[in-house]
């Protein structure tokens, strides 16, 4: 059942995104544009383009969270769990990101002829995969689209603009993927450590996304009201119909102990008014 709910979430997010034709085109076009625009920089254009893929994929992840904000809490109220919704998105966005990365890698490897093509391909795939939890975490943490977009532009932009050996570059989420991309352009360079860093960062961002999503779509589960065998839980509504007195007799505002003039008294403490059937309410 849980797997079924996750699959449904993945399917519905997929349907939602696949109907955004312009957005889909931009998902592919954006990293290519970066690559082409920076092609004057020689082989390092591959690294720039690779990291720029993060703009596209994390943007898609960000908006998948923020655009369904109104519906998410209702889905949780209906029975979904926050982590099922998160996993559903991950299940759709992960393969989509890898598909974009595959197409992008083919182009880069063909045009830039890096020293180690498979390492560049690996680096681009890692950027794509890292972008999904990053976008989900930012989307879950920020209140609205504008803030999320600015955070995304800021983080990826700084990652692109700074040199690899700076502190600011090392603390950002695409440091590991960028190291791999740079290593693919030459004949040596570390791979295991950046891969581990990326993995650890990705897991941390997923945990952050999980925490933020849970907090944002939190639904209080009320205590069950045990009033009798037919009200004890799901399915209780199938009991015999209960009809409390005549229907359609019209409202009798001001009856019983309620104020006769129909005005609401200023509240100075708990006040109770008995209804027509003698129930003490209010």
């Amino acid at each position: 059942m849980r797997a079924g709910r996750i699959m449904i979430m993945a399917e519905m997010h997929g349907r939602d995104l696949l109907r955004r034709h312009v957005a889909l085109c931009l998902l592919f076009a954006l990293p290519f544009s970066f690559y082409v625009a920076s092609s004057d920089n020689g082989p390092s254009a591959a690294a720039s383009g690779g990291v720029a893929l993060a703009f596209a994929v994390s943007g898609a992840a960000l908006f998948s969270v923020l655009s369904s904000r109104a519906a998410d809490q209702r889905l949780v109220l209906s029975g979904y769990r926050p982590f099922e919704m998160l996993l559903g998105r991950l299940l759709f966005l992960g393969p989509l990101a890898l598909m974009i990365a595959g197409l992008f890698s083919l182009t880069i490897v063909e045009l830039s002829t890096p020293a180690r093509p498979w390492v560049v391909t690996l680096g681009i795939a890692v950027v794509a995969l890292q972008s999904v939890p990053f976008g989900l975490a930012v989307g879950a943490a920020v209140p609205r689209e504008l803030e999320g977009t600015l955070v995304l532009i800021g983080v990826v932009g700084i990652q692109l603009a700074t040199r690899l050996d700076t502190v600011s570059s090392k603390v950002l989420p695409f440091y590991g993927p960028r190291q791999i991309l740079e290593a693919g352009l030459v004949h040596d360079g570390p791979l295991a450590r950046p891969l581990f860093q990326t993995f650890a960062y990705g897991v941390a961002m997923l945990i952050a996304a999980r925490l933020f999503v849970s907090r944002r779509v939190n639904v209080s589960r009320h205590e069950p009201l045990l009033t009798g065998p037919r009200a004890a839980g799901p399915g209780a509504e199938a009991g015999p119909a209960v009809k409390p007195g005549p229907v359609g007799a019209g409202p009798a505002v001001g009856t019983g102990a309620a104020p006769a003039n129909g005005t609401a008294p200023a509240r100075t403490g708990p006040r109770h008014f008995a209804g027509r059937r003698g129930r003490v309410s209010g």
């Binding site: 059942m1 709910r5 449904i8 519905m12 349907r15 939602d16 955004r20 655009s67 369904s68 519906a71 809490q73 209702r74 889905l75 109220l77 209906s78 029975g79 979904y80 939190n218 639904v219 209080s220 009320h222 205590e223 009201l225 045990l226 009033t227 037919r230 009200a231 004890a232 839980g233 399915g235 209780a236 509504e237 009991g239 015999p240 119909a241 209960v242 409390p244 229907v247 359609g248 007799a249 019209g250 409202p251 009798a252 505002v253 001001g254 009856t255 019983g256 309620a258 104020p259 609401a264 008294p265 200023a266 509240r267 708990p270 109770h272 008014f273 209804g275 059937r277 309410s281 209010g282």
Partner: protein, 208 residues
Amino acid sequence: MATQLRASGICKRFGPTIILDRVELTVGAGEVVGLTGENGAGKTTLMRICAGLVAPDAGRVRIAGRLGYCPQVPGLFDLLTTNDHLVMFGRAAGMGRQDAIARGHAILDEFGYPIHDKAVTQDLSGGTRQKLNLAIALMADPSVLLLDEPYQGFDRGTYVNFWDHCETWRRQGKAVVIVTHMLAELARVDRVMELAPHPSRAHRWADA
């Protein structure tokens, strides 16, 4: 009459503004309660607290059975179709794909839903979206129904049909709370609870 919903001592403030102050709401099985009050009186806040979407500052809510909540603003996905929504929300209630579609369309048919199987939600009229919103709230056959002005955008026939359904829900033993400004329709409910506006947070009761 078995109590299905009991909200007791509910307090809520937003910043310095007290929205709800020790509000009590009890609804029994087969009872339809109309919740009225001026704009800003806290009707939607009380409904959201009862649904569990907003935490009260004080007080507690207890519910027997399943809860169905129809918000004032439909929380729907713009680019998903009616069937997509039915499948997604039906799955949450443990239904398979075909069961969810069949159940959803059975509910929608009752409210005169035009056939829009392939149309995405953003292309539907406001009233049609609201019918889908209401159908989603009814998908899991809830025993407690919280309806926050659910008829907005309904055409006249559907509007009348909606209020006729109160009688059906009553017969089925559901506890129903309807936020409404339609005073003419208060004859259709068993009881009216009026929330007073800020700053006097009093409310009064009346039987229908």
